[in-house]
């Protein structure tokens, strides 16, 4: 017979005294009960120290708290960080307030229901085992994939925090897509100069090992013990041992090359940037002639990405102010949701940049060697009416489609992280954890996650830096063994669990030293291939447990027996 201690929490009167008394009477008659104490507010630190003292006496197999929602205690216990002399997994909560008292019309029914809940909880806790905590040393070594603006910034910041970085770039030089820019939209500097400075800092920092013309070939291990095999310029292979990995491999762009898009007066943003950076004089010359009219055609592709909007407004202002051009911007929506963009947009309007909003795609045609753009403007006039406008342009600047880099898919396979709908690397939770991947210890940042402007990438770089620093600063990672565990003897190595684990925490491994399977009779050790859950990477969701066709996996803190107890269906 297990010995269970009971604490009844009246939650500052929200469980009425009369009800509580009846509960106490019921509980005290139960055979498993070692003691039953009442508290008014169990989550207070005073009550917790009283509880601690009571538990020090020992001799208990579990504790049942009778009170409100377990969520309440879980958060407040964590907040109070009260070390109790009993393993936290031997606690269970009988939620009689939310689930009985408050959900039942009559007190009699509520009481009956509360009794059932209590008896179920006692059964469940009798099946509980203490669960240990483990910790994992984390060396301050990080691998960053991608030497673009995001990767460079993260490397720089991590180095400042005393973390050693391997910065791996597949190309010959650092800088990435940002080098296609001439000017920032929100700072006065020239991009090239600014980048050169950053690159030289990275190159000369002893905390940063720069590896160009290098690619990731293979990745093994988990958080804190990643083994990354990389291949250098002369096909040399090296294995880097790192604690965490950041993917910052950027994006690629694809230019439309059909029909009129091949025309030399239809250009893309990087070409205009180049032209602007190379022209000194008071006017923009092309083929010996002055450029007077430039039309930007946005939202043909990348409709929900704001990069083109930002660059179009930025370039338009330069064209209007420095080169006396007339600029028209055609779009479905002007996207100003970036720092300082609203102001820039207003300035562009003041300086005479024309904005047209369209629904039907504008038509391009060649008229006297120039490009005529026909658009039905829907902005200025009443709904449902469209105002046809023709703009004879010297240049039409169009968007390139932003797509994942060709390696993105294979990278997601190597890192075992998810791809989103459009084939970019996916974050774990778009609302909360933008830079964490689904795997503990692997981060995704910058345009490999979603095409973005330099300033946004810098924000993500900072976020990654904070996350990685927070993870590595303690030197260890501590976790409960409240995770899934495979019984290698039952495992049929069917690969169901590694395929379904949302956090890529399961691999098939050879069990050698630990979990040795002894062939019966021979006494000889056999290396047994079986699935293995990395406890530091497991989030304890239980998907693998439910799917395993051999029933070889157990969720340590929520076993079949505990679930059947909750169902009220234990024999």
């Amino acid at each position: 017979m297990p010995r269970i201690g009971i604490f009844i929490d009246t939650l500052q009167g929200s469980i009425p005294a009369s009800f509580q008394e009846k509960i106490s009477d019921y509980v005290k008659k139960l055979p498993e009960i070692a003691f039953c104490l009442e508290e008014e507010n169990l989550a207070s630190s005073e009550a917790l120290s009283r509880m601690g003292k009571r538990l020090e006496a020992g001799g208990l197999d579990g504790i049942v708290i009778i009170g409100g929602s377990p969520k309440l205690y879980e958060t407040s216990f964590q907040k109070l960080r009260h070390p109790l002399p009993l393993n936290p997994y031997l606690f269970a909560v009988a939620n009689i307030r939310e689930q009985a008292l408050w959900l039942m019309l009559e007190e009699e029914a509520a009481l009956e229901r509360a009794k059932t809940i209590i008896s179920k909880t006692i059964r469940a806790v009798s099946h509980s085992k203490p669960i240990e905590t483990q910790s994992l040393p984390l060396k301050p070594d990080v691998l960053i994939l991608g030497g673009g603006i995001t990767g460079i910034s993260i490397a720089q910041e991590l180095a400042k925090a005393g973390i050693h970085v391997f910065l791996v770039e597949k190309g010959t030089h650092l800088g990435g897509k940002a080098l296609e820019l001439h000017r920032f939209y929100n700072r006065p500097l020239e991009v090239r100069k600014w980048m050169d400075e950053k690159i030289s800092v990275v190159k000369n920092n002893p905390q940063i090992t720069l590896l160009t013309q290098t690619e990731l070939k293979r990745l093994e291990g988990h958080l804190g013990r990643f083994q990354a095999k990389i291949q250098g310029p002369d096909r040399t292979e090296t294995v880097l041992a790192v604690s965490a990995i950041v993917a910052a491999t950027g994006y690629a762009s694809q230019r439309e090359t059909k029909g009129i898009y091949r025309h030399k007066r239809v250009i893309v943003f990087p070409e205009m940037e180049k032209l602007l950076s190379e022209t000194k004089g008071p006017s923009l010359l092309w083929d010996g002639k002055k450029i007077e009219m430039v039309t930007y055609l946005l939202d043909g592709v990348n409709e929900d990405i704001k990069v083109d909007s930002i660059n179009a407004v930025k370039q338009a202002l330069i064209l209007q102010e420095a080169f006396q051009c007339q600029v028209a911007i055609l779009c479905k929506d002007v996207k100003v949701a970036a720092d300082g963009m609203e102001r820039l947009y207003r300035k562009a309007r003041e300086k005479g940049v024309l904005f047209f909003k369209y629904e039907e795609p504008p038509k391009l045609s060649i008229v006297n060697g120039q490009i005529q753009v026909d658009v039905k403007d829907t902005a200025a006039i009443q709904k449902r009416e469209q105002w046809p406008v023709s703009i004879l342009s010297d240049f039409v600047v169009v968007s390139e489609a932003f797509v994942p880099t060709p390696e993105t898919e294979s990278l997601s396979g190597l890192l075992k992280i998810h791809l989103g709908n459009r084939g970019f690397l996916m974050e774990d939770n778009p609302q909360l954890l933008r830079v964490r991947s689904n795997r503990r210890g692997i981060f995704v940042a910058g345009a490999c996650r979603f095409p973005q402007e330099v300033s946004e990438s810098l924000i993500e770089a900072r976020a990654v830096t904070q996350e990685v620093t927070a993870l590595l600063s303690k030197g260890t990672y501590t976790y409960d063994l409240a995770v899934a565990e495979v019984d290698p003897k039952k495992c049929a190595v069917c690969y169901t669990c590694p395929r379904l684990c949302p956090h890529s925490a399961i691999t098939v491994e050879k069990y050698g030293e630990k979990n040795v399977y002894i062939t019966s009779g021979t006494g000889q050790e056999t290396k047994w291939g079986a699935a293995k859950v990395d406890p530091a990477s497991c989030y304890g969701c239980g998907i693998c447990v439910a799917e395993c066709p051999a029933k070889a996996i157990t969720l340590q803190h929520l076993t079949d027996a505990q679930i059947y107890a909750q169902m009220g269906m234990m024999e």
Binding site: Q99, L103, T116, V545, A546, M567
Partner: protein, 136 residues
């Protein structure tokens, strides 16, 4: 002879169903009497056998409260649960039990009213259907 009060096992995902149940309590909404709440970390933890065992061992109906699709903290736990339900449904149909005895309901943390409403509706539906003839 008391009226038939159907027994329902309600599996509640800790990310949606369980907080919704708490919310229902806080709102003091009234629940049918005979509901067993089972708290799971994710609907993906709910094994097919739990759905069947619930019926076998005495429940008249089973409800799985899971997060909305594409909103699973564990990416596809709720979809796995849906797949397992369809397996259980196939089996119930073949053995002549009403597949409506097992149902999934997608909701969010703040769906206290929906949580209670779904259980009330299920309870009414089961009353009409009568006791589960498969329970031992």
């Amino acid at each position: 002879m008391s009226a038939f009060d159907p027994k329902i096992v309600a599996f509640c995902c800790d990310q949606s169903g369980y907080p919704a149940a708490d919310m229902a309590g806080t709102l003091k909404l009234k629940l049918p009497k005979n509901v067993e709440i089972v708290r799971v970390p994710c609907a993906g933890r709910i094994e097919t056998i739990y759905l069947l065992k619930a019926l076998e061992k005495g429940a008249d109906g089973v409800l799985v409260f899971a997060c909305y699709e594409e909103n699973c903290q564990f990416l596809r736990g709720n979809l796995r649960a849906k797949g397992r339900l369809s397996y259980a449904h196939r089996m119930l149909e073949k053995i002549g039990l009403e597949k409506e005895r097992i149902e999934i309901c997608h909701l969010a943390t703040n769906s206290g009213a929906k949580w209670v409403e779904t259980l009330r509706r299920k309870s009414e539906q089961l009353k009409k259907m009568g006791p589960n003839p498969g329970k031992l």
